[in-house]
Subunit: 336 residues, 4 copies
Amino acid sequence: MNEKPLRFGLIGTGRIGQVHAASIAADPDAVLTWVCDPFVEGARSVAARYGGTATESSAEVFSSGEVDAVLIASPTSTHVDLISAAVDAGIAVLCEKPIDLDIARVEALRPKVAAAGVPVALGFNRRFDAGFAEARARVAAGEIGELEQLSIISRDPAAPPAAYLAVSGGIFRDMTIHDLDMARFFVPDIVEVTAVGTTTFDPGAREHGDFDTAVVVLRAASGTVVSITNSRHSATGYDQRIEAFGAKGMLQVANAGTSLVSLSTATAVEARPPYQEFFLERYAGAYSAELSEFIKLARGEASTSPTFEDGRAALILADAAQRSAVERIVVPVDLA
Amino acid sequence: MNEKPLRFGLIGTGRIGQVHAASIAADPDAVLTWVCDPFVEGARSVAARYGGTATESSAEVFSSGEVDAVLIASPTSTHVDLISAAVDAGIAVLCEKPIDLDIARVEALRPKVAAAGVPVALGFNRRFDAGFAEARARVAAGEIGELEQLSIISRDPAAPPAAYLAVSGGIFRDMTIHDLDMARFFVPDIVEVTAVGTTTFDPGAREHGDFDTAVVVLRAASGTVVSITNSRHSATGYDQRIEAFGAKGMLQVANAGTSLVSLSTATAVEARPPYQEFFLERYAGAYSAELSEFIKLARGEASTSPTFEDGRAALILADAAQRSAVERIVVPVDLA
Amino acid sequence: MNEKPLRFGLIGTGRIGQVHAASIAADPDAVLTWVCDPFVEGARSVAARYGGTATESSAEVFSSGEVDAVLIASPTSTHVDLISAAVDAGIAVLCEKPIDLDIARVEALRPKVAAAGVPVALGFNRRFDAGFAEARARVAAGEIGELEQLSIISRDPAAPPAAYLAVSGGIFRDMTIHDLDMARFFVPDIVEVTAVGTTTFDPGAREHGDFDTAVVVLRAASGTVVSITNSRHSATGYDQRIEAFGAKGMLQVANAGTSLVSLSTATAVEARPPYQEFFLERYAGAYSAELSEFIKLARGEASTSPTFEDGRAALILADAAQRSAVERIVVPVDLA
Amino acid sequence: MNEKPLRFGLIGTGRIGQVHAASIAADPDAVLTWVCDPFVEGARSVAARYGGTATESSAEVFSSGEVDAVLIASPTSTHVDLISAAVDAGIAVLCEKPIDLDIARVEALRPKVAAAGVPVALGFNRRFDAGFAEARARVAAGEIGELEQLSIISRDPAAPPAAYLAVSGGIFRDMTIHDLDMARFFVPDIVEVTAVGTTTFDPGAREHGDFDTAVVVLRAASGTVVSITNSRHSATGYDQRIEAFGAKGMLQVANAGTSLVSLSTATAVEARPPYQEFFLERYAGAYSAELSEFIKLARGEASTSPTFEDGRAALILADAAQRSAVERIVVPVDLA
């Protein structure tokens, strides 16, 4: 509380970078000191609104002596090098998911991160959603007894453009990866992955050999089974639900509505407006909470931030899901 | 259980009489022995289906020696005379509400009923609705602490024909009377009635000086306040809800749906089909339960059947509501 | 309507046999003429209540000349022989699921059934549940566009005794088989099965090499994916839900409640009593509807009764699920 | 958009004054230039946090030449004089409700306000609640046809201290006044008031001759009937609901939950945490929207801000309710 605000360098000023800039500006424990984007106009615009010096060079950020932490929101392909540079500079990292699309590059970086002792957090923001966090805490508190089944339903409102799909790494590494991390948030000890992917509606997905619909089943060493149901579209709005089933009962996290008003007529009762549109609405609060928790991590305080290890585990699971879906096999995994 | 079935004479074979005939036929503790209707074809048709001897003469029923109880489902104007005849014959009575539209006739009959010791029950079937009965029992069990406010919402699906309105006695004596009894089911000690009646949509009601919409507020000696919200139409189906509010919480009885299926689309979420259509659907179970409880009463066992006194009290409240609505005054009542 | 009631022979008078006896007695188009059980006291008791001649010999039923149809509710191991005998006798069959635990015996019987032209229906009663039937009809009517994902949640209230498990054929053939048929009710063209089974709470299941918890994923030729979530226990009551997700929206079938009353207090809002206890409550209406539809089938009218072929398909899927769960492989299936 | 921010003087820095200070600071179209409180430490504290010059003299605010508008959040007894002074100074006013507890003082001020042409808005913040505003807009758009009945349920979480009750003007002028304005938001043409007040649980209310529980029924010239159900306590949290019933259907505004998580166990299904605690949580967004709309009013743009006239009308209705509840009569009102 009485500490100086943590000085942030933001790398990447696209949509998600701007969300983080706003969170930093709104958090009394954080201050934005540098803003970096190769498209320097973007950096200048963000700096003008939220503070900090704009640059197109990430090296300048690292060598400035004015940042305690970097928030990496640049394209996925740059993450590994930027994390590496930050670790070299002894600067804490909050990096958007995924670490990389290539597990080999992640494994190569892993020993360095482990040895350096520099805090490296991954941006699995859904862990900080109030509903999911509450459900997990109540599971941990034993309200439903032993957790036996976890069902995650996660559907985006609409399929991304084909151009995006081309570089996304596929549905499992791009979209399901959030749900895989959510699975591990509740059930860390996953040992097996089975996935079914189909292409039911999106020609773009078909064109890129990708899937637009998927179901993934995870088995844990403990016996808990997790199922993930994904779709790249959802007419009713962003569909983000979790159901945790245990020996004593069930905890359900519902979708977030957009209105308290319901309409009943001669054809339907209690009809409400559709759910929230997408992640910026649904997880607005989660981004702030994620930042607060990362600040604790960067300061060496107790923190629940997901780490580099969590980012690696999610990617291993995503790779296994991809392999399972393509080769039609059950894939054992070892996350150690 | 081991007793012989109670022998019933049914008087009146209109819609509600047929409902009772079916209940009697389905109850192992009851048997239909006589069926009476001045329109004797109706009596014959019911007798053919559910048993019993058909007649157009109620006197024949009373003198037959073959009925232990009569179920009076004939027009309201006949109720007082039929109850009186049944009491003379020492035959138990289950009479549809109201006892009469004229409280003077009810008061005139009252001492005879009180003196005779013959069981006389009134057909306030809603007391036997599973939801309302559960709510009342849980209020009585203290689940919400002291009952402070009771809200009854009661809307029919569609206004009755003008011809019916002409003889109905008005909305308070015809429709609200059920809710007034429900109010007394939870809060017996009503001491004051205020009512607002308006005519918002039904030309038939306007023509007969009646209201199609009403709000009634009842004050109890205990301080509990009851509000009743009535309408003669409801686009969404039969609207029958209760909310009991107390010091420790609230019990709500919801409408009965017609389907477990809900639809979510781009314009609405979790829209369900409309509520049940009308009382025959909503209170189907209540009619059977009403009969069972009346059989106990007729046999001298402990019973929760509403009595002649309850029928009288409801009519006094209905009269007070009518007077309040017409004269625009607050009307004190004495139900003793 | 004007036809004579269909004359039924009931074989097997255990719990489910008694349910069918009651349905037959209640259906004006059916009459119970023979009741058979090797435990003849059971047959006599049912016959006394619902009609018919009691016997311990099924041969007597078939040769009586007094049955148009048999309802087979005897132990699974007797089904194949009884169906065969009925087909020989030219008597229509409504047989409880499964046809047999051994697909080889089913395949052996198949040509005979196909050739005989005698109606043989399987007792997949859930197809006749009002909610599931409505959902399927609305999917078929295009309300949610192309069906892309179907999620079936099916949890029993409590694990059966170990003695039952020993002869059940395992969770997939005994319990999941209902859900596998439900999957085919919506999505007939299943081509692949993956299953995860675990034993999380029931020592009896572990002892018999069975699972108490399962997730099954089915892939259809059309690309639709079905997931089934099973548990042998559920603290909140019988958990039977379906969610059909399509291009234009979602249809959800909710659990059936036991009360319209909800309680709100300082610790919880709108808490309702638990769901219905088990299948006898939840599917009470479905058993009657199943019988009506079978009567149409037996009379040669258009009917939606599931057939021998559906029973065979469900068993093939259950076998595939069992194999997938044990061998940890994805299992292609051919239901042709 | 391109205009300079509106310069605000805030008068009164208690709880609600601080809410407004935060709203002003957060609104890009507003700036806090003066903060006034006779308890000058309060003014200094708010000014330090949200900007502006602190003073104990309201006269200094009016003569500063640095305020375009005053936000009056001081005790009710000061409102009339402060509005009058603001009008003299030609400064726009947003005044917390009520204008005064004495209608005579309001009537005395009325001609001056009407003549001056200075915008004077009343702080009926609930009109800006997203749910209520949406419901009203949809009623106006004809979604439920002609509005026939409006039910407002409004219960505070806990009774205020007796000291507060002593100066509150009674439940109708203090608490119900919000609901009376909400009634007029939907149905402006109220012509009659009936109220029942009881004291069921709060000794403080009894001590001050006040009520802790009330039901108010309003009749409109149009025939629409409004009922208001109030309690000074609610175990389940702040209970703020509206149900608008019309010829074609019903719009319901539900309570705002605090969590998306529900729990189902062996004793209850889908139990959620209690509702939001009180108005600061429930109407957080409404305060911001109220400010935005007032800024439009102050700038001479089209605005939906409730005005001095609305404040006067609500007080007349509250007085009528008080008189009705005490004298047990139906009270006609003329809001012209």
